[in-house]
């Protein structure tokens, strides 16, 4: 396994987010180092998805700050946060349904062209090579010309993973990447993530504990918008408070 960097890639300082008058995240602080694979778990309503919304700029903060690679990002718009280096998937797969699979990936790759509008307009041979590379890596080459909305669920999830990865964002937020999949499909997805996310920092929300313990090097448990536990998977599994609130032993 790659050595972890000591400098944090992502930092949250006292993040508070309120929805409908109720605090969903309360003074949450955490750090994620470069190269880590962190699973966020917690019961429904713990604030996991809201945490992703906050990091990717889709929800405003009531208090606190979010930093990526030493740069404050919580005041940026979602596209600028994505450009700063945050790629993500959603709980319900979000792709460009009317576009072909290859065009979906081309769109994600175009973000790399940055502000150079001439490059954006013309497209480059390098982008075409990269599109072909990602189609192969995602095992979607045979579906390159198919419309994304015609894909089966597992392929749709794989494409969405590709969209999050193709932009070369160093931080990936994966929101329940195996949700709705059968065991075999989930195992394939985990293998795919392990295979193609090697050089990225991963933050994932997952309910399936098998997936969590296979993918994550660190587990964070949220409860009522607060940090309940944070540590290695085995240590978290053994934590009595976690067992009480999350693993079904709460009385």
């Amino acid at each position: 396994m790659k050595a972890l960097s000591l400098t944090p890639l992502l930092e949250l300082h006292g993040v508070t987010c309120v929805l409908g008058g109720q605090p969903v995240l309360s003074a949450l602080s955490l750090q994620v180092r470069r190269g880590e694979r962190v699973a966020i778990i917690g019961p429904n309503g713990a604030g996991k998805s809201t945490l992703f919304q906050v990091i990717s700029g889709l929800r405003p903060l009531r208090a606190g700050s979010v930093w990526l690679n030493g740069r404050r990002i919580d005041r940026l718009s979602p596209p600028r946060i994505a450009r700063a280096g945050v790629g993500r998937s959603f709980q319900t797969p979000q792709v460009f349904g009317q576009l072909s699979v290859a065009d979906n990936l081309r769109c994600a790759l175009l973000a790399q062209a940055g502000g150079n509008w001439l490059r954006r307009l013309a497209g480059t041979a390098a982008q075409e090579r990269e599109t072909a590379h990602w189609l192969q890596a995602l095992r979607l080459a045979h579906l390159a010309d198919a419309r994304a909305q015609q894909l089966d669920y597992a392929s749709l999830r794989a494409l969405e993973l590709g969209l999050a990865l193709a932009g070369q964002a160093p931080l990936l937020l994966l929101d329940e990447p195996t949700a709705g999949m059968c065991r075999a499909q989930a195992a394939q997805m985990v293998a795919l993530i392990q295979q193609i996310c090697t050089d990225r920092t991963l933050l994932l929300i997952e309910h399936d504990l098998d997936t969590v313990f296979r993918l994550a090097t660190r587990v964070i448990v949220l409860h009522h918008g607060r940090l309940l536990a944070d540590g290695a998977p085995q240590a978290v599994r053994a934590d009595a408070r976690v067992q009480a609130v999350y693993l079904g032993l709460e009385r």
């Binding site: 718009s77 460009f96 349904g97 576009l99 979906n104």
Partner: protein, 417 residues
């Protein structure tokens, strides 16, 4: 290569050529000055509809304020022409539309960031508000807008360039058509670029686009700039054609009529925009000359299109041509023939009823005769009303099922994708 691929390639290659020939053809014909004036009007309407279709079909933005860009560009063109003539600058007037396009683009650069903040309804309402705002400001800012009379100019006061002095309507049409072709070519090129791909992505899923670092606002703004440029060309060409621009060109009616015909024809493509422009000029000039109720006919026609051809008339024609080329539905022409006969009956019957009502209501004809479709009709006689009602009900009664049958035939003959 499959037959479909051959067809697509042939269409790809022959489309632009047919277009150039079609647009250039009138120049070779011995037409009257009035015909060329009408054709020039058609060319500028084509540009205006292209500008609306560009926004609507590429990024699903409905602009209710397109006359803001074309109207302001019209004024800018008039002032530019007057300044060139007054100072004797050696600038040919055939370049004035370009100036108008760039002026409209600058306006879009100023107001665009506000309009494109959100898509959908928000964009429609913002453009509507801006259009109304400028139309209301126009009478107050007399220096630029020239008050009620607007601004007049003389297109022949400029220097002659390449033998073009814009004295004849034929020359004006030639210049207008050339700008139309330029815009259609630009649009065709734009559709092949990555910007068009990003626009489709933004239209499809703005949330995913933002998560892929594609800023929906920036993409919308870029297309709005191109669209405003086209609208600016249209507005400046109109000034060149009629040598006059007034506050009416900025008004809500101008915007809404253009939008209505754009939607009715489905003006995403150059052909669709041309069809829409034909319908618009046909309604505003020809239909308006023969009937006071022309707005009512336009409204009814639009209603029918929304109900029976929501993708626009150009989509119906495209499907029809595709089916005929593939020769998959031999009965299609019979179906079309039946539909056209029924539609003609319904149109004759309904329009007769409407004209009779107008004649009675406005007491224009009194008990005298109303001349319609070559017949003298007397609104005071009951059999005239009964006959018209009979025609209308027969046309509609048979037309609705035959339209449904025709639509089924079109769908059944669709080529596999």
């Amino acid at each position: 290569m499959s037959r479909t691929a051959h067809l697509q390639r042939a269409q790809h290659a022959s489309g632009p050529l047919t277009f150039v020939v079609l647009v250039a053809l009138p120049l070779a014909l011995p037409l009257h000055s009035a015909d060329f004036a009408l054709l020039a009007q058609l060319a500028s309407a084509w540009l205006l509809l292209l500008s609306i279709g560009l926004l609507h079909t590429r990024v699903r933005l409905l602009s209710f304020g397109q006359a803001l860009f074309s109207g302001l560009a019209g004024y800018a063109a008039a002032h530019a022409m007057n300044a060139i003539a007054a100072h004797g600058w050696p600038l040919p007037f055939i370049l004035v539309p370009l100036y108008g396009g760039l002026f409209a683009l600058t306006v879009a650069l100023l107001v665009g960031p506000v309009c494109v903040r959100h898509g959908g309804l928000s964009f429609a309402m913002t453009t509507l508000a801006l259009g109304v705002l400028v139309a209301l400001l126009a009478p107050m800012l007399q220096g630029f807008f020239g008050g009620e009379g607007g601004v007049s100019t003389d297109r022949t006061a400029g220097p002659t360039w390449l033998g073009l002095n814009l004295l004849s309507q034929r020359q004006v049409y030639g210049v207008s058509a050339a700008y139309g072709l330029l815009a259609a070519g630009l649009l065709r090129w734009l559709d092949g670029t990555r910007l068009a791909l990003l626009a489709r992505a933004v239209r499809d899923n703005p949330l995913r686009a933002a998560a892929c670092a594609i800023a929906p606002r920036a993409v919308r703004l870029q297309l709005l700039l191109v669209s405003a440029f086209f609208a600016g060309l249209a507005g400046a060409l109109q000034t060149l054609q009629i040598e006059q621009v007034s506050a009416g060109s900025l008004g809500l009616q101008q915007s809404s009529m253009a939008l209505l015909f754009s939607l009715a024809a489905g003006s995403g493509s150059a052909w669709g925009a041309l069809l829409g422009a034909g319908l618009m000029v046909g309604s505003e000039v020809i239909l308006a000359a023969v009937s006071r109720a022309w707005m009512l006919y336009v409204g009814l026609g639009f209603l029918c299109i929304v109900i029976w051809a929501p993708q626009g008339l150009s989509a119906v024609l495209r499907d029809l041509l595709r089916n005929l080329r593939a020769a998959r539905q031999p009965d299609l022409l019979w179906g079309l023939g039946a539909l056209l006969v029924c539609a003609a009956l319904a149109v004759v019957g309904l329009s007769s009823l409407i004209e009779l009502l107008y004649a009675v209501r406005q007491q224009l004809q009194g008990d005298g005769a109303l001349r319609l479709y070559g017949f003298n009709l007397n609104p005071a006689r009951a059999e005239v009303w009964v006959g018209a009602a009979l025609l209308a009900t027969t046309g509609l009664g048979l037309g609705v099922p035959s339209a449904r049958m025709f639509a089924q035939q079109l769908r059944a003959g669709e080529l596999p994708q």
